[in-house]
């Protein structure tokens, strides 16, 4: 263990320090499940930043169809914000906040919760955050938060089957995981490692990227550059159809949107797939059963991503709201074993080690 520690000196730096050191200006936080500790991670990072006098901005990816119910049902947890912080959130959530804020800009970006407003916190308090929905708006808002003075912008992120997931549009991403994933620690480790593996998929070649971006639809690419776009409603239901179009000349298959177990199995029916690269939008689009995925990978399935994600750290919450919890140190040590080289921080207990 000592060896690993010294080998990954960078990993022993405090999380907030490595964000600054790498000049990451936008960082998204993704939870692998509800109550995996995403909010805790956010609060932790913002507190750490405050201790080092780093000015932070925060926003969140809103979702289509979010409405006022969300506020009362407290689906979005409150984030505690302190003086000097920058926040971008929808007007309705802002009006419900007990933090005192100075209005800096009304962005004109509308969401189900009202227009996205950019504020500077004047007096600490709690605030629910509902930011823009689209990637374009998110980039704009993050840019504005930086413009007003935020050195690091945290995005309470979401992964999306259809739209752009937040990790894709940020410089780096922190994955929050925890006991809530399973009562069985082994399962927690397995699921987390799977997510990190998917998110960390390597990017595909530039020329393939160009072809795919131009087509922007599920397609089959031949060695000679020929592109076939199958006539399917969604990739999820179109596995068979895609499989039929794959032949010995195929070099890449691009699947837009979610990748499911059924689809992977249907694709695998085609014997040519073994020599072919499967291109997906990004790692957050994989929704397969872990066993199916691992089996396919063992058999030689090659997967690359159109958009890469930079996984900076994994944070742990050893406590489940159902009442059970793991020994923090045991979970952490085990997680380090399955994810060597990735920074692991227990945000519920100790945070970064001193």
């Amino acid at each position: 263990m000592v060896n690993i520690e010294t080998n990954f000196r960078g990993a022993s730096m405090r999380l907030i320090e490595s964000i600054r050191k790498n000049n990451y200006e936008t960082v998204s936080i993704i939870g692998l499940a509800k109550n995996a500790g995403k909010t805790m991670t956010l609060n932790y990072l913002m507190e750490e930043a405050a201790n080092l006098n780093i000015k932070t901005g925060i926003t969140s990816t809103g979702r289509d169809g979010e409405n006022t119910d969300l506020v009362t049902q407290t689906q979005k947890p409150s984030i505690s914000v302190i003086e000097g912080m920058y926040v971008a959130t929808a007007k309705k959530t802002l009006m419900l906040s007990n933090a005192k804020t100075e209005i800096l800009e009304t962005t004109g970006i509308s969401t189900a919760m009202g227009e996205v407003i950019i504020v500077r916190v004047r007096q600490k308090g709690n605030i629910q955050i509902a930011g823009p929905v689209t990637a374009k708006d998110m980039k704009y808002v993050a840019g504005r938060l930086k413009y007003y003075g935020a050195e690091v912008v945290f995005i309470d992120g979401a992964i999306d089957r259809k739209a752009v997931s937040s990790p894709v549009i940020t410089d780096a991403c922190v994955i929050a995981t925890g006991a809530v994933l399973s009562r069985d620690m082994k399962k927690v480790l397995e699921k987390t490692a799977h997510a990190v593996e998917c998110y960390s998929l390597k990017g595909t070649d530039e020329h393939v990227k160009n072809i795919v971006r131009k087509t922007n639809k599920t397609c089959i690419i031949s060695e000679n550059g020929k592109v076939i776009v199958p006539d399917i409603a969604t990739s999820i239901t179109g596995g068979k159809k895609i499989s039929e179009l794959i032949d010995e000349k195929t070099s890449h298959v691009f699947v837009k949107g979610a990748v499911t177990s059924t689809m992977l199995k249907e694709l695998w029916e085609n014997k040519h797939l073994r020599g072919i690269k499967l291109i997906i939008e990004d790692g957050t689009k994989i929704f397969t059963d872990i066993n199916v995925w691992n089996e396919m990978r063992r058999k030689g399935l090659k997967v690359e991503a159109l958009n890469t994600i930079n996984v900076l750290a994994v944070t742990l919450n050893p406590v489940s709201p159902e009442g059970y919890f793991f020994d923090s140190n045991v979970l952490k040590e085990n997680m380090k074993k399955v994810l060597p080289g990735i920074k692991i921080v227990d945000v519920a207990w100790g945070g970064d080690e001193d």
């Binding site: 932790y44 802002l94 209005i103 009304t106 007096q123 919890f325 020994d327 923090s328 207990w349």
Partner: protein, 527 residues
Amino acid sequence: MTENTIKNVNFDYIFNELKPITEYGVKAKQEAKPFVKGQEADLKTEFNKIRAFIESRQRRDIIDVLKHIKNILETIQRAKSNQVLDEVELFEIKNFLILVQKMDRILRGISNTDIKLLQLTPLPQLYKKLDPANEKLNTFYIYDEYSQKLKEIRSEKRQIEKTIRLLKKKIKEEIQDKHNIKLNLKDEATISKSQKDKVNELNKEANLRVSGENYLNIIYKIKNTDEIDEYEKKYEVLTHEEDDEEYKIRQEISVSIKEFSDILLKNTEIIGEIDYLIAKANYAQKTNSIEPEIINELQITIKGGRNLKLEKTLKDKHIEYVPIDLNLNKNVVCITGANMGGKTVTLRMTGQIAAMASFGMFVPCEYAKLCLFEHIFISAGDDQSIEKGLSTFGAEIVNLKEAIKNSDRRSLILIDELAGGTNPKEGYAITKAVVNYLKKKGCITVLTTHYDNVANDRDIQNLQVKGLKFPDEADLIKEDSIEEVQKYMDYRLIEVKYSSDIPKDALKIAKIAGIDEKIIKDAENYL
């Protein structure tokens, strides 16, 4: 203008191309009404304003300001009905006031008397209420400067917050030292149950409580002391007082906004007008349009007129548009000439220019002199009513009725190939009769026709398309595309006098376009 006419002279296309920036500008555009006979002076003023914006270098600065202007109509309405505005609304009013002041300053720099009519009213007295600290920033906060009470509450809150923080820190350090444990950021510590002594020890600690437990561990958390509880309660009370005070302040500002609501609304209207005028100025420049001369006498003269929609279509295909001169000197003008010679386009161009002028826009030509019409009216082949199920002839008759109904007023009537779809004998008769009827009226009629003997009337001006450039050599050219005809067509109009015959170019065109030689030969036999 009827819907039908608007579409047929492509005015819908042009109006869509006018793009005001603010919602007030869009409103001004939507509510725009055409200038009619009797409003020539107003129209002249409108043109002056457009010209002033085209010529002034401040236009860019104004556009920059317009880009930041938001719709505050709803907020003003809320203030008017005695609602208390929230911080975001107050922020928007503040920004509006800043932008009005900015724009007013820019407008003062333009030394045009007609622009001076666009008088904005900055409201420094209201602005002051939104910037009590005189920070001159375009952000908004319920500043401490609003009231002594607010200032005191906040300062006390800060003090208490600090005290609580120090007290908590002290307790945390004491516990950590005393029991040799590490508490996390949430002031919690997890202790294994196997450390029985430690568990016993911590259970006795008055400042700790158990916040979670399982078969392995117990989580301890720092308990607030009575002193801290007291302070937190006080903080809570102060927060309520602060909220009440803030509400009072917002209420006061909202009342002031209500007092100035009429001026605020007037400012939004003027901004809308400026925005709309600038949209017109931009479009005039983009389309190389000029200010038409508006006269009182019934007349239209156009030099180098272009139909903007067709010009755009041709440009996309890299084909040059040939501008047309049109000098009307009689009440009825008959355009004759070759098929594909641009007769219908000329009608549309004329209608479009008359419509643009009446909506206070510059017009796409080198020179134009025209009067204001009460009605602009067109009957052209691809009519909407045909889609409604009427036959070509049926639609024409419906249109004609409408035109004749308005022929006693100062109208511009444009008719394309009247009765062209019916039998030539009756078609000619109808056309001749309509022309005879309209030439006695006080309106301008421009019609195209293929019939002989319609235009040979002293009271009618006959304009003819110059037609195919190489009529004799056309025999030598064989191109299998209808597009090729354009190469040989001279679209210009020339005035002809008392000619009873209409030039016959249809066969030549058919030949250029590649119709079977046999058919052409056979057709010639019948001529």
